[in-house]
Each structure stands twice: as C-alpha cells, then as structure tokens.
Symmetry: C2
Subunit: 234 residues, 2 copies
C-alpha cells in the first residue's frame, strides 16, 4: 500500500468514527441530520486541532473556534455541551482510528521481524497522516480531566506493549538477542514521537517518513543483532 492510499484509508476511517460519535450522542446533540452533523464535526475537529496546536487548547476561545469554523457560537453548542465535551469527542475519535488501523496492519504479519517493520512504518505513516491529532494529544494530555488523562496514559502503554511483545516474540523465534525489551520499546516510542513532535525539523532537513522509518529500523536492528552487547539494565 502506498502512502496516498494510506491517507485515503485514514480519511475514510475518520469519517466512519465521526458517524459513530454522532450516533452515540444523538440524544444530546441538537442537530439531527447525519450528513450535516458529520460534515460539521469534521470541521470543528480540524479547527480545534489547528488553533490548539498554535496556542494551546486552554487558550483557544470559543470565539476563535467560531471564526475558524465559520459557525456561530450558538451553532457550535449544538454539537457539544462545552469545551470539555469537545475534547473528549476529539480524543476518542483519534484513538479509535489509530487502534483500528494499527492492529489491522500488524496482525497481517506473522514473523517478529516483519511485525516490527510493519509496526514502525504504520505508526509513522499514521502520525504523518494525523499529525495534528498526535501532536495535540501529546501536548494536551496533562491538561485533561482525570478520566481522559487515564485513557491517554493507557494509549501510551498500549503502543509500548505492542512493541515489547514483538521484540519478545523475536527472541523466542531466535532472531533477536535477549534484551530489556520493555526499555527498548519505550525508546522506540520516543523516537516515533519525535517524528510528529518535531516535524518542522525533519521537514526542513528534507527527511521523508520512509527514510526516517528505515533509519529507526536499522538503529534498532543493529542493537538486537550485535551479540557484543551486554544489556546491563535487567
């Protein structure tokens, strides 16, 4: 699958989730026509990400959001009960899309080496296609209310565990050396996060997402194949 097909798939998945969100909140939303609701929800989400990533979610006023979406303040409140509510919808939409696509791509592979490559590449492609969402979630996580923050932390640990499990499987297959897989998984995650957190830097240096993926994989694989290393952190 090439990247533009991937982008399309993400876009479709995002709309699907918007439709599901609309279905779930049908009682509370004052808007009743699905087509209108989904279209405006997407606009609202995009605008929220754009403004928040410039000045922060707290600093984004409803007037800002009104201006950016072209909807009046009154209209906005037909879609959500308040800022908190908007935040929750936006978060759950993104999480749902990511989980769906990530698992789909990893489960298509069986051997550890292929799984590792699929996981790294898919995660990078996802964060490329949904960069504003990833950036937002990372930066705003600490400002979320308790329940939302817990879900964000769970998401972090979930991704990390995916990588740790793959590395463990590789050791069982005899293709990877024994290492502290969880610690390696956490630094892999750190490197993946750098891609969407410092996108300006990589863009400026003309490093493509595929080049970055190849580099990360070489880096990790070198560590897993070098038997000279003793992993001191047990």
């Amino acid at each position: 699958m090439n990247y533009s097909d991937f982008q399309l798939m993400v876009k479709v998945s995002q709309q699907d989730i918007c439709r599901e969100i609309f279905a779930e909140n049908r009682k509370t939303m004052r808007v009743k026509k699905e087509e209108t609701a989904v279209r405006n929800l997407e606009r609202i989400f995009d605008a929220t990400l754009k403004i928040s990533n410039e000045k922060g979610f707290q600093a984004m006023s409803m007037r800002d959001l009104s201006r950016e979406t072209g909807l009046s303040m009154g209209a906005l409140y037909a879609y959500f009960a308040g800022k908190e509510d908007l935040l929750e919808m936006l978060q759950s939409q993104g999480r749902a899309v990511i989980q769906r696509i990530l698992e789909e791509h990893i489960n298509a592979e069986s051997r550890a080496v292929s799984k590792l490559r699929a996981a790294v590449r898919t995660h990078l492609h996802l964060s490329e296609a949904m960069q504003p969402w990833f950036y937002f979630s990372y930066m705003e996580a600490k400002n979320l209310a308790r329940a939302q923050r817990d879900k964000a932390v769970a998401g972090e640990l979930y991704t990390e565990k995916i990588f740790a499990d793959i590395l463990e499987q590789g050791q069982e297959e005899g293709v990877f050396e024994p290492r502290d897989h969880l610690l390696v998984a956490s630094v892999i995650k750190a490197m993946l996060q750098d891609w969407y957190l410092k996108r300006w830097k990589y863009a400026k240096r003309s490093i493509s997402v595929d080049q970055y993926a190849a580099f990360i994989l070489e880096f990790v694989e070198a560590f897993y194949l070098s038997s000279a290393n003793s992993n001191t952190v047990a």
Copy 2:
C-alpha cells in the same frame, strides 16, 4: 562527581543566576534588597513550574500563584511586570544554568567516546535535577511569544549540535563508523527528552538515571560499532 554533589552544584548555580537576573532588572523591580529578592524569585519560579506542569502556564492564574507562593498579587507584581515577563525570566534562568553546566562537563573530556558519555550522563543528570524546568520548557515552547520561541528552538538545535559534533569527531578519530550523525544526534535527543517527559513511567519501573544513561550509551554505541549496517539516509 556523585549525584548529590551534582544536585548541590545545580542548586548553587540556580541561585547565582537568580542573583544575576535581579541585578539586570534592578531598575524595574520594586524590591531592592538582594537577599529578599533572590529568595522570593526562587519561590516564584518553583511555584510557577509546579502549577504550570499540572495545568499549563496559560491556565495558571495569578491567584493560583499567589496562593502557592504565599505572596499577595500586589507583592508578585513587585518582581515582574506581568505573566510574559515572569515567563521570560524563568526561561532565561534555566537556559543559563544548563549551558554553563553542560559545557563545563563536556569540555573536561577530550576523546569522542568520553565526550559522548559525559554529554549523555550530564544531560540526564541535569534534567533529573531540574526536571520541572525541562518539562515546562518542552510543553510550553509553542505557546511562547516569537522571540522566546526562537530561543527555545535555538536551544534544541544547540544541544543537538553538541552531539552531532561529538559523533563527527569520533569518526575522525576512527573509533566510530560513518553514519548520518545529525540524524543520530536527533534521536539521541529524543531519548534524553523521554527521560524527563515520562519520568512517572521510569520511576514506576524503578529505572534509575544511571541505568537509563548506560542503556542509551549501549544502544548508540552498538549502532556506531556495527559495520554490518549501511546507513541509507545519507
């Protein structure tokens, strides 16, 4: 130097910088006695970091800060002209401490391998001793005004260049394989940042700063010593 000596050195350095800040802003501050000013500036900085790291700098009200420091709103404004001003002082204080200590420790070494180890360890120790400041700077960077944001970006690139230069030197010394040093430097930075951004995670897993440092060094050194690798990103 053990870690508790290091902590003490950082603390002293922070006070020194507070004194310098006071000297620079003597005209505008309504407080005139150095001892009082330095003591209260430290309290104000600590409180700002504490509150901001919980809910964000924007969301921190002057009333919050007043409560946390025990100083009244009026008293606070004797130390700075407004929130923007406070932010600038806090940022410049941290940057000054970091630059001073980092260069001191790296310049004490001559060979690349030793420099790399000193740089990684010192950076991790610094971010351990000043975790709230590092966390704050990372999270609030995008919300800063133009001039401040530029300085934050410059700081990011400055640290990265330190690492890239060391790796380059290692290649010249013939102890490191040729690689894309700048790209490696940026992922090293990402791993160092993970330490202070996800401190809760490493604390929970009982991984010490020295264990983390050892791990990062093994990881990087494995990549630089494995001749099997072809660095595709040129």
